[in-house]
């Protein structure tokens, strides 16, 4: 499977995070939140200085481009268990 991690962070920051995590993620920069907004995952004025920020969300998409699994956080402390994501993506 391909993991694409999307945030408004600039690329240099995301690259640093990727190296720190030694993750096989590809980090994509959505500087103006255009894609995040199109997906409906924007928390209006949720940032510390009142800026819009993403709602942490995980989406599993099959080979045909269809959404098969979706978890939208309702509390930012809570993230999907990677084992659940792997299970959702297995066999797609």
């Amino acid at each position: 499977m391909q993991i694409l991690a999307i945030s408004p962070d600039p690329n240099e920051r995301s690259q640093g995070l990727a190296e720190k995590l030694r993750a096989r993620y590809r980090f994509l920069a959505d500087r103006d939140l255009a894609v995040t907004r199109r997906y409906g995952f924007v928390h209006p004025r949720g940032g510390p200085s009142g800026q819009d920020v993403p709602i942490p969300t995980t989406v599993v998409i099959d080979r045909r481009g269809i959404v098969r699994w979706l978890r939208v956080a309702d509390n930012y402390q809570v993230r999907p268990d990677p084992a659940d994501v792997a299970r959702a993506a297995r066999g797609l």
């Binding site: 391909q2 993403p54 045909r64 481009g65």
Partner: protein, 130 residues
């Protein structure tokens, strides 16, 4: 000295709950149950309340004030501050994911549709550092 053991225990339980939760953030089963640290704070407050009920001396009162303060702050953080609004229901299971192109960390353009018929894709929207 022995009679202030419950006050000390209360502080240790409350602080221990906060330290344990923060140090186990990488364990999904802990991270995804923030109520665990609230339970620790509540236990600390209950121990201190019992100590105060037996003897309203200042160490017991201080332990009660400390653990209740942690419980109130933790409850506010978990139930109010960390709450997120519902996402708009643009995306539904069973529907096509909207295509997009974004630059990756090397500046190369990545298009969602390029993975079509290749492999499944997991999109992780995260908040970043701001």
């Amino acid at each position: 000295m022995m009679r202030f053991v419950p006050a000390l225990l209360s502080v240790v339980v409350s602080l221990g709950a906060a330290v344990a939760y923060l140090s186990l953030l990488r364990v999904p089963a802990i991270r995804n149950h923030p109520a665990l640290y609230l339970a620790g704070f509540a236990l600390g407050a209950a121990i201190a309340a019992a100590a105060v009920w037996r003897s309203a001396r200042w160490p017991n009162l201080a332990a009660l004030a400390f653990s209740v303060a942690l419980l109130v702050l933790g409850g506010y953080f978990n139930f109010v501050f960390a709450r997120l609004p519902a996402a708009s229901t643009v995306l539904k299971v069973g529907e096509a994911a909207p295509d997009f192109t974004l630059p990756d960390a090397t500046g190369a353009a990545v298009t969602l549709a390029s993975f079509r018929d290749q492999r499944p894709v997991v999109l992780v929207f995260y908040r970043g550092y701001w």
